[in-house]
Amino acid sequence: MNTVEEILDFAIDREQQAADFYSNLAERVSSAWMKDMLLGFSKEEMRHKGKLKSVKLGDKLLNADQHVQDLKIADYTVDVEPAEDISLQDALIVAMKREKAAYRLYSDMAANIDDPELKSLFLGLAQEEAKHKLYFEVQYDEQIMRDN
């Protein structure tokens, strides 16, 4: 991956994979609300994908220097399996851990590259993922740890 284009294509592809992950899981669950929620997650990933597409077309810019709050919830929760009878709590853990992994990936890539333009693109992508992770952390904080 040496060009902006290639990198964005990679990222777009990853968002599509995420969307597919949630919609596949949604296929398997039997309860109405969980299906609803997972399809919502999937839609959200498609929205991310759309955003990256417009970045690719030059309609939008990624901001590499924004500061995104890290609540560190994802860091200390245990890994869970995305099973058919997954609970809300575990679904949120899966989601935030996925976003966290993506954030790591792009940050690592940024660290290993010298080209300033590409470095900033990776950092921009990393911040995007950090935002997505923050969203799930906040939801976890609100929905799951209401009393804590």
Binding site: S31, W33, K72, Y76, D147, N148
Partner: protein, 594 residues
């Protein structure tokens, strides 16, 4: 006639050259005294309680809606309009003003050709004297209202932790009347009460000693009055106008004062029990306050009601969660027994989804009301959680409620800051344990009732705020458990939510306990709603988002209580049940389309 009497009168010249004291043009020259009672002024603190209107003996005040007023809880949106064709400048309205927003300026001369100008809304209409700093204000030591609450007798902290006896002992008749007497009957609280109970009216019945009338008023909006008279979150009291200068009225305790004075045997006689069957049946899922409230109002309207309850007894979280030192079983039973006595059919030990499919109920009944509450404790989901000495708060409370010993040991850490955490902590104290309560945020952020927080502290629980658990480890003694927690910094939420704690990884602590009770939150369990209904029912996470009258897009299904509202307290569940009962009645009589 003496000569002196002829001459003496000429002394009158002595004062001939004194200047007149009278002002030629008072409108310009002579301000009123600093205390002068001139035209009215009203400040932004006004919440439109209308007490000025009730005290004015001249009917010079009308409470009128004011455009452009920001909507606030505890604000009627009305403001006093004064008619100077009636006002006698007695300033009783100022003396009685509950927020002390109303004053009189010392401005008394006002000339205008427009007669309507003498009819204005103080504070919101622009008046020449609005900036006046002088004029009549109530003296700090002069009161026409009683600002101090009549405290309720309570067990001391030592007596409290010695057992499970009810801590709050209730008002005596005399205390209740004194407390009721403080109410100004403004009704501001009614809008904030989730059930919109007729608060000033039932408080009046306490004052008059007419408890039967009081009970009838309570049951118009709340068939859990004995319960709510004890453990209601009393949101009404947060807006009670008496709170501006003193203590809010103890609305919750006054509700209890009524119920405590009416024996259960008299309920049917007072509330009436003649219910005509109307031939339609409604199923209720969950026998918590939400479900039973719906059952009560539906039954009253003649529906045959069947309640499906997973547990062996009714009451929901009020029975299996709230401990008896706050809500004795017999008080909850008093409420439930009366509802059941109207002929509500109870199917206990029947969990919908496991023992009977949801779709079957949908077929069997003309309508369904679902209020299954939140009974799935959130897991800690940190490393080591599966340790046998990690218990769930709900489990501990459930055990205690069912007469089992949860075995908490001698040293307990409770994780969480909500009602469950507080109750788990206080229960543990009663079982003889030392208790630390670890909470991720600050004490003021705790969702538990402030009174509960105070009482738990009085009973000897230690609150450890801003403590984030990160790991559970085996302790050297296998009957013990070690928790690793880190200190938290609070960061502001950009989007305006509550501040969020962030772990400080360089400040970690380790502590060993006999058990750890997790009470960080709980969720609902509605997996039994089959996926086929996804398009018809709106969800937000694992909760329902009902429409008008608590109805869902699946027209027969109405939902309420903790599983469908964000307030998660008993009174909101009760109101949801009542509201849904009205909705179901409209739906089944064709007035509400699906």
């Amino acid at each position: 006639m003496s000569l002196k009497d002829l001459i003496s009168p000429f002394y009158v010249w002595q004062r001939a050259f004194e200047k007149p004291y009278t002002q030629k043009r008072p409108i310009e020259d002579r301000p009123g005294a600093p205390r002068y009672r001139g035209f009215h002024m009203n400040s932004e603190e006004c919440i439109g309680c209308g007490t000025c209107e009730s005290i004015c003996q001249n009917h010079a005040i009308d409470m009128v809606p004011v455009e452009g007023l920001e909507q606030r809880a505890g604000d009627s949106g009305l403001r006093p309009r004064f008619d100077y064709g009636r006002c006698c400048w007695c300033a009783l309205c100022v003396d009685i003003c509950t927020t002390r927003s109303l004053h009189l300026s010392n401005h008394y001369a006002w000339v205008t050709e427009d007669p309507d100008a003498f009819h204005f809304t103080a504070g919101t209409d622009a008046m020449p004297w609005n900036q006046n700093s002088l004029g009549y204000r109530r003296d700090d030591d002069y009161h026409l209202l009683v600002h101090d609450r009549v405290e309720m007798q309570a067990l001391s902290a030592e007596e409290s932790v010695a057992g499970f006896d009810e801590v709050m002992r209730g008002y005596t008749e005399e205390e209740a009347v004194l407390e009721a007497d403080r109410c100004v009957e403004c009704g501001i609280c009614v809008a904030t009460c989730p059930a919109h109970m007729a608060i000033p009216d039932y408080i009046r019945t306490v004052r008059k000693g007419d408890y039967e009338a009081g009970l009838r008023l309570l049951y118009e909006t709340n068939p859990f009055s004995s319960t709510c008279g004890r453990i209601c979150t009393h949101r009404c009291e947060t807006v009670c106008v008496m709170g501006y200068q003193g203590d809010p009225i103890a609305i919750r305790w006054l509700k209890r004062a009524i119920v405590d004075r009416v024996p259960q045997e008299k309920y049917r006689e007072i509330l009436g029990d003649e219910v005509e069957e109307n031939g339609k049946t409604v199923g209720v899922i969950g026998a918590g306050p939400g479900g039973m409230s719906a059952a009560y109002y539906l039954r009253r309207q003649g529906y045959a009601v069947t309640v499906y309850e997973a547990q062996a007894r009714a009451g929901g979280m009020l029975r299996y969660g709230v401990p008896s030192y706050r809500l004795p079983d017999n008080q909850l039973d008093k409420d439930l027994e009366y509802i059941r006595s109207l002929g509500v059919e109870m199917r206990f030990n029947t969990q919908v989804g496991r023992d009977i499919p949801f779709t079957q109920l949908l077929d069997e009944h003309d309508a369904l009301f679902l209020a299954v509450g939140l009974n799935q404790p959130s897991a800690l989901r940190i490393a080591g959680e599966e340790h046998p000495r990690v218990l769930s708060g709900l489990r501990v409370l459930d055990d205690v409620a069912s007469g089992k010993d949860p075995g908490v040991g001698k040293r307990v850490a409770v994780i969480g800051g909500g009602n469950v955490a507080m109750d788990a902590a206080r229960v543990s104290r009663r079982l003889g344990a030392e208790v630390d309560v670890l909470y991720r945020r600050r004490i003021e952020d705790m969702p538990a009732d402030p009174e509960e927080i105070r009482e738990s502290q009085a009973e000897g629980c230690t609150l450890v705020p801003q403590a984030i658990p990160v790991e559970i480890r085996n302790a050297s003694d296998s009957n013990q458990v070690t928790i690793v927690w880190g200190e938290a910094e609070m960061v502001a939420d950009d989007k305006g939510g509550r501040p969020r704690p962030v772990l400080q990884e360089d400040r970690m602590h380790e502590e060993t306990y006999d058990c750890i009770i997790a009470a960080i939150g709980q969720g609902g369990q509605i997996d039994f709603i089959p996926a086929e209904f996804r398009d018809r029912i709106e969800f937000k996470w694992n909760k329902f988002v009902p429409g008008d009258y608590q109805q869902t897009g699946l027209e027969k299904l109405f939902v309420g209580g903790d599983i469908a509202n964000s307030r998660a307290d008993a009174i909101s569940a009760i109101e949801d049940g009542h509201h849904a009962a009205r909705g179901i009645h409209r739906f089944l009589s064709g007035a509400l389309d699906g």
